[in-house]
């Protein structure tokens, strides 16, 4: 199968490309970032998915499937530009897919779609609306991209759309929001709160994407790995120091004293859990995670030992 991967140069993109090549697929990658030393057999195009040249790739290659990973978070791009990348890029992917005979499009979204709040249920299900936008506006573009991708389910009948809401990634590449948060020796938490976090090893993320490619499930799906774990346990198991601070003090201390920088709204994400129910995805595709929570945490710890201050 010819598989086009916008956003291939990210760490997950590279791992996905390797796995697809191993599986005998033709992999075509699009990314505006350079990809040094691409996996053998990958056809790489260093260009912006929103530009004319990207459409030419669709026209020439005529991929069977697209796995759209070219969305960025507020941690990567901290400007208005993020809206254009995430929404413009997603629109381009779907329009070109419709125009050039793609059979299956996978949108890789995030479980933070649901938002974190005191009155939010544990184990979100797919039909819930996004509730966290008022407290965390930096998520708006990703939520909008997720909903836009979902609209492809009725907008385009010529291909199957799978919208995935994936939990945090944790593993040896140190990629992702949670891993970035855990990077320093000291990890700030909110005094009196210890929310559950749901994460999966990056190899399981890739397995979930490949499973989606094979099973072609139509619809919106939460994707998760092992059972959630309290933040304090993650900090302990990755050999970091938990620094619990009262809310106002934490807001003032973020970005200083070796603590990570976080937008205000992100504090809700270390106050309340965002946990998803992934049973429909497992049932529809037969996906099973291979790596348990302890192994994932230790894989991260071994690759990123506690920094010496």
């Amino acid at each position: 199968m010819k598989v086009l991967v916008p956003g291939i140069s990210g760490r997950l993109g590279r791992m996905l490309a390797e796995r697809l090549v191993e599986g005998g697929h033709d992999v075509i990658g699009i990314d505006r970032r350079p990809m040094p030393d691409p996996p053998a057999g990958v056809e790489l195009h260093e260009l912006d998915i929103r530009k004319r040249a990207a459409e030419d790739v669709f026209r020439r290659v005529r991929p069977n499937a697209v796995i759209h990973m070219a969305t960025v978070t507020h941690l990567v791009v901290q400007s208005e530009d993020r809206y254009r990348i995430n929404l413009g890029g997603t629109r381009a992917v779907f329009e070109h897919s419709a125009a050039y005979g793609v059979e299956h499009v996978t949108f890789v979204g995030r479980h933070t779609y649901y938002g974190a709040a005191a009155d939010a249920p544990l184990f979100h299900v797919e039909d819930e609306p996004p509730m966290g936008l008022s407290s965390f506006p930096q998520l708006a573009d990703l939520v909008a991209a997720d909903l836009y991708a979902g609209s492809a389910l009725w907008r385009y009948s010529s291909f199957v759309t799978s919208v995935l809401r994936m939990v945090y990634t944790l593993g040896p590449t140190g990629h992702g929001t949670l891993a970035t948060f855990l990077r320093g020796a000291r990890v700030p938490t909110l005094l009196g709160y210890d929310p559950l976090f749901q994460f999966m090893h990056e190899q399981d993320v890739v397995t979930a994407l490949v499973t989606t490619l094979e099973a072609r499930p139509r619809g919106v799906f939460n994707v998760a790995g092992p059972n959630p774990v309290p933040l304090s346990v993650i900090i302990k198991e990755t050999d970091r120091t938990n620094v619990p601070l009262p809310g106002p003090m934490l807001r003032a201390a973020l970005g200083r004293f070796g603590l990570p920088k976080l937008p205000r709204g992100a504090l809700d994400h270390i106050r309340y859990p965002i946990i998803v129910d992934d049973s429909p995805f497992r049932k529809t595709t037969g996906f099973q995670h291979a790596i348990d929570e302890k192994t994932a945490m230790h894989a991260f710890r071994d690759a990123f030992p506690r920094p010496v201050m």
């Binding site: 005191a118 009155d119 249920p121 544990l122 184990f123 299900v125 909110l190 005094l191 009196g192 709160y193 210890d194 559950l196 092992p226 059972n227 959630p228 774990v229 309290p230 346990v233 009262p246 809310g247 309340y272 859990p273 348990d292 929570e293 302890k294």
Partner: protein, 268 residues
């Protein structure tokens, strides 16, 4: 500082049938450590301070989904805590009773964390359905917050029941074990409820006792469980049908209170 864990509590926590992970935590964030600490403290109150007597335990199913439905008694969450303790200490094997916490709890530091760790999830229909579908035990007080605000003179009366619990039981095909909780109103004799004071502390209200602070007196408390009740249906029935079922449960609880009241007064 850590409370020394009572060995009996430790042994009972180990016998709870819950899907623990390697860290002793279940998928909802309930933790063995927190349960052990919590029930070590609860043990003192259950066995000694209030020396709670539980009657009719044979009516409570040892396994599978069930809802314990009863009256509120006492201005603080004494009733809930002692019912959970009776399931933990007097059932064999012990069962973890899970209540539905008021939403404000989750906004208070420490309270939010502790509530989750001991299995008291935020009161949402999604949580209730999920716990029952996993064959757990749910404790419901259909009087709601109005029930905890009962004054001393009304301590053996019942206020209006909501119908949410009945729709839930019908939808989830769950037996209801009605119970009466006796004595909470004597332990915390509420003479008034201060909403203003409550607001200042981030709570809906604070019960005021004759000695002002809300410390409960060491009076004897009792719980009466009765036979399980089953209600057919899907939970989408007309209000009248559901309310008729609700009234049956309410009447059963009222009769249990009657029995308990007589016994408390030493009548035959």
């Amino acid at each position: 500082m850590r409370l020394p864990i009572d060995p009996e509590v430790r042994e009972r926590v180990e016998r709870l049938e819950l899907p623990w992970n390697e860290f002793g935590i279940d998928p909802y964030g309930v933790s063995k450590e927190a349960l052990a600490a919590n029930y070590t403290l609860a043990r003192f109150f259950y066995r000694h301070y209030f020396s709670v007597d539980a009657y009719g335990l044979e009516h409570v199913p040892k396994k599978g989904r069930v809802m314990l439905v009863g009256n509120h008694s006492g201005g603080v969450a004494l009733d809930g805590a002692m019912v959970y303790a009776s399931m933990f200490f007097d059932m064999d094997p012990p069962r973890l009773a899970q209540g539905m916490a008021e939403k404000f709890i989750n906004t208070i530091p420490f309270a939010s964390k502790m509530a989750t760790r001991v299995g008291q999830l935020t009161g949402l229909p999604q949580h209730a359905e999920r716990l029952l579908s996993e064959e757990r035990m749910l404790v419901v007080f259909p009087e709601g917050a109005k029930g905890t605000m009962k004054l001393y003179k009304d301590r053996y009366s019942l206020v209006n029941f909501g119908q949410g619990f009945m729709r839930l039981a019908q939808k989830m095909k769950t037996p209801i074990v009605p119970f009466a909780f006796m004595g909470g109103g004597d332990a915390v004799p509420t003479i008034a409820n201060s909403v203003t004071l409550g607001k200042m502390l981030g709570m809906p209200y604070i019960p005021i006792t004759p000695w002002l602070v809300t410390l409960p007196l060491p009076v004897k408390l009792e719980v009466y469980y009765s036979e399980p009740m089953f209600f057919e249906g899907t939970g989408t029935e007309e209000d009248e049908i559901v309310m008729a079922n609700v009234e049956k449960v309410k009447a059963r609880i009222a009769s249990l209170i009657e029995v308990g009241y007589k016994r408390r007064r030493g009548e035959p």
